[in-house]
Symmetry: C2
Subunit: 309 residues, 2 copies
């Protein structure tokens, strides 16, 4: 990172898990001279300062972004349209603005209204945990994960330089960087992130509603597989509500594929078709091996939960 | 375990993950004077001896169970009917026979054909990993997990004593013991284990089939949630085929609940009904907290995959 000129003042809007982790990582890697945090919740602002996640907190959005050469929007996707208006009103010319939202087409639509002097580069770091708030933030969250950039359709040199700088920022906090079209992002992430979350939330609700199996039994026998799903089903409900409201088409498309596949296996169960079940169940191991080989998952069985001996 | 009289000779039929782990745990806890392994696959037998999972291997089922006072059937549920015939032919009077299968009603049906002098106590330790074979076995697999016993409808003192002894065996390897009706077991486990596996297998197949998202992208962005599902989708396909072929009614019942819930959320996404989504998504955290509090899951975020700092 020797060639990276640190930002003078970074404004982090939303200092929860992702915004807070990015702030922490930038502090560790010395990517900004000063990091100012802002959050709608005054208590969260105070905690972020106390925890050392940011150098200081601002009382308003305007005060946070004033003179900032980097603005990081880390809020639920549903808030992006109104945040872009705030950016337009308060960010200085030449500022780089990034977001960290899980959906990119609606962010691109909102970002199109930001004036050209401000360089908005939509980003999505594919990293997170099921926890929320500044207490959940940690500096290595992005290490070896992928951050996807979906630049706006602008070809002016100032914007291209801003895209370059956004990429360098992500690499600076340990992430790999990929560029793609916002629409393709939304489809790819519908598969690898949005559908898995929807399925996990659904399974938890379905289990919770089954009146002839007690909640205590679900807890006791959860090591049979159910507990795995509760991790992502414990994720932030507001963030995920906004993901589905803003990635409707791609989610419904991949959900259609999922329910077709499920119908096929349901039919195989009903008719005792062991061959179809065996064929389908045999596809999991190679994909998991590939994910482990790519450094995106641990090799230890059971996520290392049960230590050998 | 001071009151536990060790078995003289335990025969472990099937020395993979579960049978092998039980053999290892019994050796560590000194619950049997001698442990003999048998497996259909001669190579697996040899590896189990070499790995120290069993004291020795027998060449046939009959040789393994001869003079055994404990027989552990650790094979896919579909093999239980034929294994019960073998037990009937070769096990000695007074022997305790247990299985470790994930489905219990069909095991009870098979066990009903075993002669009364042999005491078959159907068992299901709710523990495992996504790996298979004797190399995957480890002695602490059952520690703090639940083992469910679904005794046959017999009230003779010899059988009741055998049930008692089976429970003591599981407690001896670190498990908690619960007794229930086989039908209730199959429904409860359909929720906490069988449906989660079916859903995970389905999701992996659906992702694998999506031609406009590359396999490489699924791997790269799997940290968005998908990777969690690949763990249980990497489980043994034969074992899981047999689970669904043998627990059809309960699986289809809970699958019906799941698809109803999914349809509700699908409709909410289509119509932009954020309230329904938020309400559903808010139910996950408390259930996960309960599972962590019950010692069935780790508290660390992300299954401890991403270490803080």
């Amino acid at each position: 990172m020797s060639e990276f000129t640190p930002f003078k003042r970074a404004a982090v809007i939303g200092v929860g898990l992702v915004g807070g982790s990015l702030a922490l990582a930038m502090r560790v890697e010395k990517l900004a001279d000063k990091i100012v945090g802002y959050d709608l919740d005054a208590d969260v602002r105070a905690r972020a300062v106390k925890l050392g996640v940011v150098d200081e907190a601002a009382e308003t959005f305007a005060a946070a972004v004033k003179n900032a050469d980097l603005v990081i929007l880390s809020a639920p996707v549903g808030a992006m349209a109104s945040l872009c208006k705030e950016v337009n009103a308060h960010a200085g010319d030449g500022a780089l603005v990034i977001d960290v939202g899980s959906v990119k087409e609606t962010v691109a639509e909102a970002a199109a209204h930001v004036r050209p002097g401000v360089h908005f580069v939509p980003c999505h770091p594919v990293a997170g945990t099921e926890q929320s708030g500044p207490e959940a933030a940690f500096a290595t969250l992005f290490k070896d994960r992928w951050s996807i950039l979906t630049p706006l359709p602008r070809t002016d040199p100032a914007y291209l330089a801003a895209v370059e700088r956004a990429g360098a920022l992500w690499r600076g906090v340990g992430a790999n960087v990929e560029m793609m079209d916002a629409g393709h992002h939304d489809l790819a992430l519908a598969v690898t992130s949005h559908l898995p979350h929807l399925i996990a939330f659904t399974l938890v609700c379905a289990a919770d509603d089954l009146e002839n199996v007690a909640a205590a039994e679900i807890v006791k026998y959860s090591a049979g597989g159910f507990r795995d799903f509760t991790r992502i089903a414990a994720s932030d409900p507001v963030m995920w509500r906004d993901v589905f409201l803003n990635n409707k088409a791609a989610t419904l498309e991949v959900l259609g594929r999922f329910t077709e596949e499920l119908a096929l296996l349901q039919r195989a169960i009903r008719w005792g078709d062991g061959e179809t079940l065996h064929e389908a169940f045999s596809r999991g191991r190679s994909l998991r091996r590939a994910i482990v080989a790519a450094g995106q998952e641990m090799a230890e069985p059971n996520f290392g939960r049960d230590k050998k001996k």
